[in-house]
Symmetry: C2
Subunit: 209 residues, 2 copies
């Protein structure tokens, strides 16, 4: 049903397209050209046309893309029509920030966990923080398919292992460490320290004075 | 002085190599093979060898890479030998999480700002939250070269513009929106909502029952 030849780089750009298309749609803009998309998203229009061509040829020369159709198509490809339930482990500032974030899509944090007894039973964005030993049962009961890790690096692999055991097949890791998961489990790393350090490469020393 | 032919993808991997090499170094491991690096970092050893070859041929067949030398070299390429001062705007949960994070490198948040009067004057990880109108002067006085944006999407472009005006040449944006900056200003987007939504693509619908 889903085309599985789409490269990871393209898949990563789809949510960015989707967000902007949703913005357009909310202001009743019904068509958009690859040039406009490129300008707004800081991407090459040719790249955008290539990306969108994966999903069928629905751009019309001189008219542009149908915004509503594109939204539908991207949501379908990302499988966002079915709700995705997410569990989050680690209720520090970062976990709290993610919980408060309004995803505006069918992907929703429905359970939060922490191993710290002083956190358990407190609420975070209307969810009660649960102890780790309730993870497996909650994943089953709430049909959770994605897990988010916002614990310190030293704890992250343990949490990933628990997620995998519980049947979770997609993990978003914020801990600054590379985690190992078995085949069939997809893991994405959001590594802001790497993002920050790699910025330094592009700083021109001459500008510094 | 710095080779500017290194691709962005390679530059993004360097901090990840660096972090693991630092771990090795702290446990007195002095050589590492591309196989070991690959296993630990979930990367192809051939890719790693190719990446590291950019910086000169210092791996020795059958012996591996000299950890200390590699650390030095990567830090040099990322220009981490000179301290990088960072300003952060937006003192919500995410800003707080970033401030508390120990970077372990020469990149340091030295000033935090918010436009909310109720936040100004409070402290965040030993820094006093400053009003936005002190941004330019503080950037100058504290020789800040990198800015982090952790404000809502609707405010983010305004903050980016202020950073640019203040002379900042590298921006790390956490707001879920694409920002425009003039040529010569480098911007990295850390977009966890896109990371999360793109995960859904890899979820197998059959696993969901």
């Amino acid at each position: 049903m889903k085309p599985d030849k789409i490269s990871e780089a393209v898949v990563r750009r789809l949510p960015v397209y989707l967000r902007y298309l949703n913005e357009l749609s909310s202001t009743d803009i019904l068509t958009v050209s690859s040039q406009e998309l490129g300008r707004k998203l800081d991407l090459n229009p040719a790249q955008i046309r290539k990306d969108l061509a994966y999903f069928g040829d629905f751009g019309r020369k001189g008219v542009g893309y149908n915004v509503i159709y594109l939204i539908e198509k991207i949501r379908q490809i990302l499988q966002l029509d079915e709700p995705r339930h997410v569990a989050l482990v680690g209720t520090g500032n970062l976990g709290r920030a993610l919980c408060n974030y309004n995803m505006k899509e069918n992907v929703k944090i429905v359970a939060v966990f922490d191993s710290d007894p002083s956190k358990i039973g407190t609420t975070m964005n209307r969810l009660i923080v649960q102890p780790m030993d309730e993870l497996e049962q909650t994943v089953r009961e709430k049909e959770i398919s994605i897990g988010i890790i916002t614990v310190p690096a030293s704890e992250a692999q343990k949490v990933a292992d628990r997620f995998v055991t519980a049947g979770i097949r997609g993990i978003l890791n914020f801990a600054p460490t590379v985690l190992r998961t078995p085949d069939g489990v997809r893991i994405h790393h959001t590594d802001f320290t790497a993002d920050l350090l790699s910025l330094a490469y592009y700083m021109d020393s001459d500008d510094e004075t």
